[in-house]
């Protein structure tokens, strides 16, 4: 509620130019802007691909590679890796960050891919999508064998220039927050040495 007066002020200041801008944005929307339908479609498509891999019966090592590729296609790996590393990302050089990002991608593929057995015979139903601040939240329910249904929420943004998800929240447990804590602890163990963290990540997960 405290945001209301600010919102009003901003709209008034924008005035006529703001209206023109809004009109232009509306016209341009079908061409590029992310909306609830598109956010929802993105998650449904990525889930389809994940289930194709789970049901393929390939050896786990191959599955992890396939999960990593799906993650790279549908998630904004750059922002997730950057956010997980925290302020240290700004101190890392371009090459150092790129190497870390590559290792991080493999780590995510293995760490979350390892859990694929829990999803055999399961189903995830996308139930809706809504705008949240500057991004979209796609809601879904996961039906896993022998468990109560779980709420899974996906946060999707097009800020990277492409529509990608950047966070998954399972029953309130936030993947980005959890990886921030984990990568933070790994970096602290290496006393802030990003190259050493990168080497650890290649083995972890």
């Amino acid at each position: 509620m405290t945001l209301m007066p600010n919102e009003f002020r901003r709209h008034n200041r924008r005035g006529f130019l703001g209206l023109i801008g809004a009109g232009l944005a509306l016209v341009a929307q079908p061409a590029w802007a992310l909306d609830t339908d598109e956010a929802r479609a993105l998650i449904e498509k990525s889930l389809d691909e994940v289930y194709t891999v789970i049901n393929s019966g390939q050896p786990p090592a191959q599955m992890f590679k396939a999960f990593e590729a799906i993650f790279a296609r549908y998630a904004d790996v750059d922002i997730i890796a950057r956010s997980a590393l925290g302020p240290a990302a700004r101190q890392a050089g371009a090459a150092g960050f790129a190497a870390y990002k590559q290792a991080f991608k493999g780590y995510i593929g293995r760490k979350y891919g390892k859990r694929f057995r829990e999803f055999i015979g399961s189903e995830i139903e996308v139930t809706g999508a809504r705008p949240v601040k500057s991004f979209y939240a796609v809601t879904s329910v996961a039906y896993l064998k022998g468990r109560s249904p779980m709420e899974v929420e996906w946060h999707v943004s097009d800020k990277s220039g492409q529509s990608r998800y950047f966070n998954i929240i399972i029953e309130g447990v936030n993947m980005l927050a959890s990886e921030r804590a984990e990568i933070g602890a790994m970096l602290a163990r290496r006393k802030g040495d990003i190259a050493a963290l990168t080497a650890d990540l290649q083995q972890a997960g």
Binding site: R82, S83, R115, K133, F166, V173, S178, A181, R189, A204
Partner: protein, 243 residues
């Protein structure tokens, strides 16, 4: 009876209110961290030496272990005995509808479900478990979460939830209806079903307890987020693009 509830509520609120404080910047308030970490190391040792070997023997990884049906029945039995206390908490939170449903669930499972060993209420009567506890009641009354705590053998908690656990023992109507031996058997069944859950979710538990760089911090974060989600107290969304 009512007077007893009032008295307990007053003390609980005073207790939890007295020690609650604002959360830190990262949403975690953990002034007892050094002590909590010691308890965590103890809990982890108990898990790896006792609980994990026991639970993996009782219920196999995929729920196909020899004893998985026994564990399910024990779990049903134990959680059935918890229902009267749950119904009381729904009432204390001012929610009569779930209190009534929980009471019906208890009546159906205690009779048709052979003293709660089976769960016909959930399977045939659309009366699933609607769990709650006095920690949630305190939250509904506006009591703050307080500091994070890791309790020996019990695991993650907060000051508010620790008080809630004690009060739940005191207000449990079952204590008046069962004799001491019956009550202890019920508690034992609940503990056994917890061990069974440890077996069923072994991948998740193992990855947090044994594969993370700082298992204390991971446990604390994941537990707090999940608990706040249960209580409808989630914080702000993370927007990494705005940072």
């Amino acid at each position: 009876m009512i007077a007893r509830y009032h008295l307990i509520a007053f003390f609980a609120a005073a207790l939890a209110g007295g020690c609650s404080a604002d959360r830190d910047g990262d949403g975690i308030h953990d002034p007892y961290e050094p002590m909590n970490r010691k308890v965590h190391a103890f809990n982890r040792a108990v898990d790896s030496r006792v609980v994990k070997p026991l639970s993996s023997g009782v219920s196999g990884k995929d729920g196909k272990g020899i004893g998985s049906h026994v564990v399910e029945a024990a779990g049903n039995f134990g959680s059935n005995l918890a229902l009267p206390g749950t119904a009381v908490n729904h009432l204390l939170q001012g929610k009569p509808a779930p209190a009534v449903r929980t009471t019906f669930r208890f009546l159906v499972n205690s009779t048709l479900g052979f003293a709660g060993l089976l769960d016909p209420a959930g399977k045939d009567f659309a009366l699933p478990e609607e769990d709650t506890d006095f920690g949630q009641t305190l939250a509904a009354w506006g009591v703050g979460e307080g500091a994070y705590l890791e309790l020996p053998l019990i695991g993650p908690s907060t000051e508010r939830d620790a008080v809630g656990r004690v009060v739940d023992l005191v207000i449990d109507p079952m204590r008046g209806w069962l004799n001491r031996d019956q009550y202890l058997i019920g508690m034992g069944a609940r503990a056994a079903s917890k061990a069974g859950e440890r077996g069923r979710f072994s991948d998740s538990v193992d990855s947090i307890l044994y594969e993370s760089a700082d298992s204390y911090a991971q446990t604390r974060l994941i537990w707090l987020q999940h608990r706040r989600h249960e209580l409808g107290e989630e914080g702000e969304n993370i927007d990494p693009y705005a940072e």
